[in-house]
Amino acid sequence: MNEKRTYLDPNALSRIAGMEVAARLVVEGFISGMHKSPYQGFSVEFVEHRQYMPGDEIRYIDWKVYGKSDRYYIKKFEEDTNLRSYLVLDTSGSMGFKSDKSSNSITKLEYGCYLAASLTYLMLKQRDSVGLVTFDDRLETYIPPRNGPSHLHVIISELEKSLPGKETNISTTFHELAQRIVRRGLVIIISDLLDDPEQVLKSLKHFRHKKHEVIVFHILDPAELTFPFDGSVMFKDMETQRQLPVEADLLKDEYLRKMKLLISEYKNGCNASSIDYVQMDTSVPFDYALSIYLSKRKK
């Protein structure tokens, strides 16, 4: 089990060439680690009987068993979902950042891709429909939600192609996307959210307004959280290429304070709008994200 869990480590995953394989490893490892089948739920396919409990729907009572045993049992079915999930992946330039320049470390985008791939695999396993949206300052890719094993390959191929792009314009893109998605579903946003939080939260609310469930995976690099720089540093914007000379020592406190503020602003804003907000850094194992998803899925 432990051996399998190591595959959930993002850095370890980065060493695996195929994203599909990586995604499967993540999910399978995650599942085996849970010791619990994830495939419970309501389904057209019978699974087992369970004694009736007050509150259970009467339509699920197995009358045949009642006839035989004079007891109320209800039938449990394997769920046949119609959940439509939208993985919304930020591919803006800032997502290409990684603080650790070693070859086995990963960028925020790569982390997001693995996360998206793992979620796709998991969701398709649950027979949910999964779609993929990538964006930077505008919508780049839109793969509508589909159900079926071949769709995994479609999405993963797209993820594998994704590269850090231009500047971010999250709120505009989200508004546009909210308008575009007609049927309600689950919107999973994977982004560093380095944009105006107020505007971003507004756009997230737009999803909620459209009755979507929203999970926000706020992906940040550990360096963005700890700001481990010192001395004179010339910061070069990965999106705009603009440079900013900074005395890192001097800014550190201010930066950390502001970053803390930003995260808490997103957190509070999301809570207020019943949006699940998960702040992760690229060193956090993926199972954490998957468990978040599943807990959301159960609702």
Partner: protein, 691 residues
């Protein structure tokens, strides 16, 4: 601003080091790709701007620290009024120029000028602080730099001042000032001051030449004494350079200046008082007869006034014994009479002529005669010529009168020591010629220097004479009209050869009437004295500072000892023998006026001689002080008169210079202390996580 260690200023280059480090560290700025600087840019950048400003401030501070340290070590000295407020009194080098010329021995109500000056000098030294240094120059015509290098041992300088004595010299301010500049040039101290303590006698400025005085030297002039009356003996004139035993000699003291009250002059000879006279006017004369041959010394002493040093004057004179002169020729009787007017019966005469026939000359021992006189002899036998030549080569003196008897060709062919070749004999028209020119400085004519006696030289009538061509080196000391040589002497090729004097006339009445003229007697006697004088050390009266020199022909066993006027025995220099076998005694320590005794052994016998050394009273005895404005005009704008009553502490401290080096170093230290917290204000803190 002056820098005492200007070379250290090179260190100012080090001030560029912080700048280089600053620029280098800017080049070392890491460039980091970052997700988005929008977020960073939204931070409060005021702090960064403040930090940058602070970095520049620290950079300036560090550069300033280095500059201040370098400047501090280079020891800048400012010269301005405000500089004193900025710095402490600069270390001071003082040169005391203490006038010890003899005019400073003038005694006033508060003591001698010299004692007052010494006291003031000691007070000046008392005003010096630790780190100051000083030197002492005793000012006379030749400055005595007591400390060749400026010294910080002030007590030593004080001791030297206490032991200083008055000199017997005159004054030259300029030479002493030059020495003082030279001493102060060596000094590293920023403040340099000369204290000139002098009576500022006018004579001290006679030789002043305009010169540039270094700007960094302040001069404080302390006048000791004002104009005053003073009488001095300027000179002693002896009527003859040599005296003969029994021959009266006139000793005349020439005075200068004035003094109050009656002045009595006293004559001392060989330490005994021999005469006294009241001084009326500017001369006082004594007549004295020396009875013994040899060198005699004497002193003329006036009633002492406030400056007693120049109230006495010394002399030394050689007194000769009887001089024997061999005279031969047709008209020798005239010469005999001129040399010894008392006639043959006067056996004690100073000059005693001895007659001999021409034949006797061949066998005569000529060495015992001071001179041989040939009075118009026609020619001489060969053996006489030989005897005369030997006499001449051995240092003997010959006087030759050529008249109408002289055989011109024989003289030209046989008497090689003649100073001239004889030509044809000329008879003057209308009847005679006269002596019209003579060398007034020649000792023979020393008695004909006043107008009355000079005229007697022109009186003789010369009826005939030879046309004469002087030989090379011969000296025509007198001429007739139309420039015909009248009296000649030979130039001596070797120092030991004798002297030959030729008269182009004779006492023959057919040749001239010279024998009848009053000038003939002194002319003959002066001729003999002159010839004798060359064998004597003629220069026996010197001034302070002169070099005594004497030729010695005899064998000298060892270097002579000279006992000065104060009783100090000093070895004189004795040169090696030259080709003529002459050695020269030299002595330059004639520092004090008085009688000096010289002693040396020659062939085991002690030889003793004397000479007199006197003050050079020209100017120094005048006691006329230079005016303040003249002095300051010469010494320049740095010179200022200072009263004896002023506080020397104040004067020495009244410096326009200040050494700000210690202040600069203190400021540098303060800035260093400021720099430390400023530089550490934004020290790197341990990283912390937002989580």
């Amino acid at each position: 601003m002056n820098l005492l260690n200007p070379l250290l200023l090179i260190g100012i280059i080090a001030a560029g080091i912080p700048l280089l480090i600053h620029l280098w560290s800017r080049r070392q700025t890491k460039t980091v790709d970052f997700s988005s600087i929008k977020f960073l840019a939204s931070l409060n950048l005021k702090k960064i701007r403040k930090f940058r400003l602070q970095q520049i401030l620290i950079l300036i501070l560090r550069m300033l620290i280095i500059i201040l340290i370098v400047l501090g070590l280079a020891r800048p000295v400012f010269k301005s009024k405000w500089a004193m407020a900025a710095g402490e009194r600069a270390k001071t080098s003082v040169v005391i120029i203490l006038d010890n010329s003899y005019s400073m021995s003038y005694s006033g109500l508060q003591g001698t000028r010299f004692d007052i000056a010494k006291d003031a000098s000691l007070r000046i030294l008392d005003s010096l602080h630790t780190g100051d240094n000083a030197s002492l120059i005793l000012m006379s015509d030749i400055p005595d730099v007591v400390f060749k290098h400026i010294t910080s041992d002030i007590q030593q300088v004080k001791d030297a001042i206490k032991n200083t004595r008055i000199s017997h010299k005159g004054t030259s301010v300029q030479l002493s000032m030059l020495e003082a500049y030279s001493l102060l040039k060596e000094s590293k101290n920023p403040q340099k001051r000369i204290y000139l303590l002098s009576d500022l006698g006018e004579n001290g400025w006679q030789d002043w030449k305009e010169q540039t005085i270094p700007d960094d030297i302040e001069i404080s002039i302390i006048r000791i004494g004002e104009n005053a009356d003073n009488r001095a003996i300027e000179n002693i004139i002896l009527s003859s350079e040599f005296a003969g035993t029994g021959v009266p000699i006139q000793i005349t003291a020439k005075l200068k200046g004035t003094s109050e009250g009656q002045v009595i002059a006293e004559l001392f000879v060989d330490g005994e008082k021999k005469g006294q006279a009241s001084v009326i006017g500017n001369t006082v004369s004594f007549t004295y007869v020396f009875l013994k041959p040899g060198t005699h010394t004497g002193e003329v002493l006036l009633t002492p006034d406030r400056l007693p040093l120049d109230d006495s004057r010394y002399f030394a004179i050689d007194v000769l014994g009887q001089l024997k002169v061999l005279v031969t020729g047709d008209y020798k009787s005239y010469v005999n009479l001129a040399l010894n007017p008392g006639g043959a019966s006067d056996t004690g005469a100073f000059i005693m002529p001895v007659n001999a026939s021409i034949e006797e000359l061949s066998t005569a021992s000529l060495d015992k005669y001071s001179a041989v006189m040939l009075v118009d002899v026609a020619r001489l036998p060969d053996n006489v010529v030989r005897n005369l030549r030997d006499f001449y080569l051995g240092g003997g003196n010959i006087v030759i009168f050529v008249g109408k008897s002289a055989d011109r060709d024989w003289y030209n062919n046989n008497l090689s020591f003649l100073p001239a070749s004889l030509g044809s004999r000329a008879t003057f028209t209308p009847k005679f010629t006269r002596i019209s020119r003579w060398d007034d400085n020649h000792p023979i004519f020393s008695v004909f220097r006043d107008e009355g006696t000079a005229n007697t030289l022109r009186t003789p009538e010369i009826y005939s004479a030879f046309a004469i061509t002087p030989k090379p080196g011969a000296n025509v000391i007198s001429s007739f009209e139309k420039n015909i040589p009248a009296i000649l002497e030979n130039g001596s090729s070797k120092e030991k050869t004798g002297k030959v004097i030729m008269y182009n006339f004779s006492p023959d009445p057919q040749v001239s009437d010279v024998a009848l003229r009053p000038m003939f007697l002194p002319l003959m006697q002066q001729t003999v004295l002159y010839l004798v004088s060359k064998d004597h050390n003629s220069y026996k009266n010197l001034l302070v500072g002169d070099i005594y020199s004497q030729n010695v022909y005899d064998k000298v066993d060892s270097a002579p000892t000279i006992t000065d006027s104060e009783g100090n025995g000093i070895l004189a220099n004795l040169s090696e023998s030259n080709q003529a076998g002459i050695r020269k005694i030299g002595f330059d320590s004639t520092q004090h006026s008085g009688i000096y005794k010289i002693e040396f052994k020659s062939v085991g016998i002690i030889q003793r001689d004397y000479f007199a050394v006197n003050l050079n009273t020209t100017g120094e005895s005048d006691l006329k002080s230079a005016k303040d404005e003249d002095v300051t005009a010469k010494l320049g704008k740095q010179a200022r008169f200072v009263s004896l009553n002023e506080s020397f502490e104040k004067i020495t401290s009244e410096t326009k210079s200040s050494d700000v080096s210690s202040r600069l170093l203190i400021i540098a230290l303060i800035l260093m202390l400021l720099e430390v917290p400023l530089a550490n204000r934004y020290k790197v803190k341990e990283p912390q996580d937002v989580a």
